[in-house]
Symmetry: C2
Subunit: 249 residues, 2 copies
Amino acid sequence: MEQYFVKNIISGNTFVIDEPETFKHVAKVMRHKNGDVVYLVDTSEKLYVATITKIDVDDAKIITTVELVDNPSTEMPVSVTVACSLSKKDKIEWITQKSTELGARTIIFFDSKYSIMKWKKNVVEKKLARLQEIAKNAAQQSKRRIIPQVIYVDNLTDLLKYKAEANLVAYEESAKQGEISRLAQTLNQGYKSVLCAFGPEGGFAPDEIDFLNQANFLSVGLGPRIMRAETAPMYFLSVLSYKYELTVK
Amino acid sequence: MEQYFVKNIISGNTFVIDEPETFKHVAKVMRHKNGDVVYLVDTSEKLYVATITKIDVDDAKIITTVELVDNPSTEMPVSVTVACSLSKKDKIEWITQKSTELGARTIIFFDSKYSIMKWKKNVVEKKLARLQEIAKNAAQQSKRRIIPQVIYVDNLTDLLKYKAEANLVAYEESAKQGEISRLAQTLNQGYKSVLCAFGPEGGFAPDEIDFLNQANFLSVGLGPRIMRAETAPMYFLSVLSYKYELTVK
């Protein structure tokens, strides 16, 4: 059963789906009929099962009767931000989709010295809108309760605005030096929010690492193999899910 | 510094690179010169630093002096197999590349009831050769000591030939029922080899799950979010790396 985010708080027993995109998907793409059911998630992160009672094509509205579903949240108990160096279009779209499936709450793309791409100021809004749409679709598909926020910053200083309780930077040199314990040590501290920054294919410049370390980003190794730039954030998110969702005492 | 697999055991102080593809890559693509160095990994999983002493274009050979590098292995201390239901070409190529980066030793594709693809007998060899090439390139890039083996089986019974000490099946229904502890419990047992099977987008059929459970595959949940078919194996491999490589006491 598919899920849609609605931009309201659902209250009472009926809800009218009138966002054009959702109307179109439910009525035209999925061709739902009266009596069909879909999930709706409202802005308070609550999940409802909505039974279609009327599809009003003229007004592009769908009337539903709704019932709260008392399932446990699908959100991670820790707020996770992945901050990834800017890369090619298909890679950042891929990172956005997969990070959403894997539970990130915030996805930041940033410009760094060895990034192979830079967004010009006049395209940022359009590109973010496209990524935000990918995040929304992935969030609906993976049955999340929120749509992750996608953000762009064009320098590392601005990245610091988004710092979490614990801040990490995945650093290949740390891995090469055999650093294998800091990630687990950090995750054992019970932080409520964690951010990890990931460099581009060419890695961070040493002065960028220094800058982040000075800003209390802890350099962590993610194992002995060299991962591509887009793979490392997936590793990180998977590990956080395992740690916080599958190893509960 | 790039790494190449060679199909011999390196012994002595010199080694001649004469595999056509490697010769081409070193001499033509990377345009290496005398004095340049590359990594070579031989069939005994040993890593050597090779200094080029002569590039013989006529005979398509490169003479190198080699020195053993005593770095710790980049292979996981547990032998991990991911068995994935057949999917579209780009997805299985992607799974092959990412599973290699993330440390899988064996990558199996299998046909299942709700797979959207089936390989005809006459294309299997060619398709596997292509995937094996992707695995080799990813293994070189991620600095692995072995090239994972890519295998195809056209039914679940044949999958049983590849069983490990511990055998799992990622099952959405388990996750929905709140199953959150079996993966961690299994990984705490200290098995030397683990296999996990992953269904197609449409999931396993109930009788397929029954069949696997009968064959001692334990159904495990991988957290509360619905992951795409290609994302779940990445989650699994990342978790195994974390468990076996980053939480060592």
